[in-house]
């Protein structure tokens, strides 16, 4: 029983982190059809922003969260304005943008290394303390992470499904040209999506850094897992990504317990390989299937 709860807690915590990391990625892919290889760095920048400004603006979580989200949104918007915008209509957008954002990731990571050094700083913006559930201790920060993930994902769900802005994003995602014929300024929609996804990444970065530490390469691992989740869920499927994140978090925790820690991630990757080979549209996906 203890063990079951322990695995559940680990799985949900992992799941929440993965969900935060992958929802933004899915949103960008779903709307722009682009793999944002710099998404991990968006997270890292969010985490460092909260870390650096917390000294001035206090250590309260909501403030830190806002800073992280603002920083993520800013870098998302800048990425769009300075890089993505120029490539959207060009040939080979899909592959070119992967290369360019990968370059951006290398660049930003090195800039962070030069500014902050490699020291693994601890994230001051977090909640201390533990609670007990049936004899198992659970850190409050884990609870916060799960809560933030659920709130943010619900907020995104509400935004996409229930607002005019969300409808515009979805319409643009489904058919850019038709959306333009409705009078939608799709370049602006893309910009907003990049900002929104950046904000989500920033929040994810803050949450991840509160469980681990800050380091310039901290985004690499969550990004990989976010890719896994997005593929398994079906690329661009925001809901699927949220659900899959929690499911895969639980799967990873179970595999780690049953078969050994080192098999956790390889099993997830194997899942991606199987999904891509047998069901390329993902478990929940319908749209944007590139098959020949």
């Amino acid at each position: 029983m203890d063990i079951l709860i322990q695995i559940l807690v680990t799985g949900l915590t992992l799941g929440a982190m993965y969900a935060l990391a992958s929802v933004g990625l899915a949103l960008i892919f779903g709307t722009l059809g682009m793999f944002n290889m710099a998404h991990g760095l968006f997270m890292t920048i969010g985490a460092y922003a909260a870390f650096s400004l917390s000294g001035y603006l206090g250590l309260v979580l909501p403030v830190g969260l806002l800073i992280a989200m603002a920083a993520g949104a800013l870098i998302g918007v800048l990425t769009h304005l300075l890089i993505v915008r120029f490539m959207l209509t060009g040939p080979n957008f899909e592959t070119n943008v992967m290369v360019a954002t990968a370059g951006l990731a290398i660049l930003l990571q090195d800039v962070l290394l030069k500014i902050f050094g490699a020291y693994p700083f601890t994230q001051p913006v977090k909640v201390e303390g533990t609670i007990r559930l049936a004899g198992v201790a659970i850190t409050l920060q884990s609870v916060v992470i799960v809560a933030v993930a659920l709130v943010l994902i619900s907020a995104i769900a509400f935004l996409l499904l229930r607002t005019r802005f969300g409808m515009t994003i979805r319409a643009t995602a489904m058919n850019r040209e038709a959306a333009e014929l409705m009078g939608v300024r799709t370049t602006r929609v893309y910009l907003q999506v990049m900002g929104l996804a950046g904000a989500l990444a920033g929040a994810a970065g803050l949450m991840i850094s509160s469980l681990t530490t800050l380091s310039p390469q901290m985004g690499g691992d969550p990004l990989l897992k976010a890719f896994v989740i997005c593929v398994v869920a079906g690329l661009g499927n925001v809901w699927g990504a949220g659900i899959c994140a929690f499911a895969l978090g639980l799967l990873e925790a179970t595999v780690q317990f049953e078969f050994g820690v080192r098999f956790g991630f390889p099993v997830m990757l194997l899942l991606v390989i199987l999904v891509l080979v047998w069901r390329p549209q993902g478990l929940f996906g319908r749209e944007r299937v590139v098959r020949l």
Binding site: M98, I106, L108
Partner: protein, 343 residues
């Protein structure tokens, strides 16, 4: 036209191979020769990636996995199977080919970014499994050696054997082994790119539906591309392992992948000689940044962004355009080379 092209490029290949054959007459410094060896190897890897990505239109991120397979193949074959390195090299290249055919078959139903994801997932899974393996396969002295070398990889296995033979000039022996693989590769690539196979590549890359209606089997062509590219890349990995006496997981880390990708992109995707130009350019710039302090990552990152944005055809493309512009209009300078093509 195709035949003429083939002959012209074969001539270029011969000149390049000749130039590198006589280079050690002028350069004796071990570090510089070592860098040229590495340049030759990265050129092979980049050129083969370009074959797969630029010519056959398969955006595979498993390139360094093929390279590592060649290197690991040599390490495992010499260390565990007791094979001579000269036998181990072709065996390792064949192992890379076999792996590529399996991965290629798995990729057949996918295209574009999906291929990138699948190939990357495969490479990453193998990477993690190797790196986290701590079970001793064999005890070597006081350390244990895992079946695939673990996080450390293999080192100090049998090399080409030039040290006892050439003494202080051992590196010349290594140089000519690598040169031989390089020369073989560039001739092979010219024949592939400008021969019948290349025609098929271009047909499927440019228009899949059209190529299909012309009876060109996309799956078969892409599998062939995977196979050739991986064989030559594996060969490069094998001689790399022989040169450094090393095969380890860092060979197929993400950062290594990006390093070679930068060469392909900067050189020019889909060109013939672009990857060589790109490898030279990137290595030179990285070398210069070492003098200026540590700017390697910034240079690589910027190169990837700027070239994709502003020079998607790479240095090879710009060179060609410059050549055409000056050749046609006899009017050198930027005005001549800017075309007004809105596409």
């Amino acid at each position: 036209m195709g035949n003429n092209n083939l002959r012209r490029h074969l001539l270029v290949a011969a000149l390049i191979a000749l130039a590198f054959a006589v280079l050690p007459l002028f350069v004796t410094e071990r570090y510089f020769l070592g860098e040229v060896i590495i340049f030759l190897i990265w050129s092979i890897v980049a050129a083969n990636w370009n074959l797969l990505m630029g010519h056959a239109g398969v955006f595979s991120l498993a390139q360094m996995l093929f390279f590592a397979t060649g290197a690991y193949g040599v390490a495992v074959a010499t260390q565990f199977a007791g094979l001579s390195i000269w036998l181990a090299i072709p065996v390792a290249a064949l192992a890379a080919t076999l792996l590529a055919l399996i991965i290629g078959a798995a990729c057949l139903r996918l295209s574009g970014a999906y291929v990138a994801l699948l190939t990357y997932a495969i490479a990453e899974m193998i990477h993690i499994l190797i790196v986290t393996d701590t079970a001793c396969f064999r005890q070597v002295g006081g350390s244990c050696l895992q079946l695939f070398g673990g996080a450390r990889g293999f080192s100090r296995f049998e090399d080409f054997g030039f040290r006892p033979l050439l003494k202080a000039d051992w590196i010349l022996g290594n140089y000519y082994v690598v040169w031989a693989v390089f020369a073989f590769t560039i001739f092979a690539l010219v024949v592939v790119i400008h021969g019948r196979l290349g025609l098929g590549f271009r047909a499927i890359r440019d228009n899949v539906g059209y190529a299909g209606s012309r009876g060109i089997n996309r799956r078969k062509i892409q599998l062939i591309a995977f196979g050739i590219s991986a064989f030559l890349t594996g060969l490069a990995g094998a001689v790399y392992a022989g040169h450094f006496r090393f095969a380890g997981p860092s060979l197929f880390e993400f950062s290594s992948l990006m390093f070679v990708l930068a060469m392909v992109i900067v050189g020019g995707l889909g060109s013939t000689w672009g990857p060589l130009i790109g490898a030279a350019a990137i290595m030179t710039v990285v070398e210069i940044t070492k003098e200026l302090g540590d700017a390697r990552a910034i240079v690589l990152g910027l190169a990837l962004i700027l070239f994709v944005l502003f020079l998607p055809k790479g240095l090879a493309g710009s060179l060609e355009r410059l050549q055409r512009a000056t050749g046609l209009s006899r009017k050198p300078g930027p005005e001549a080379s800017t075309s007004k093509d809105p596409a």
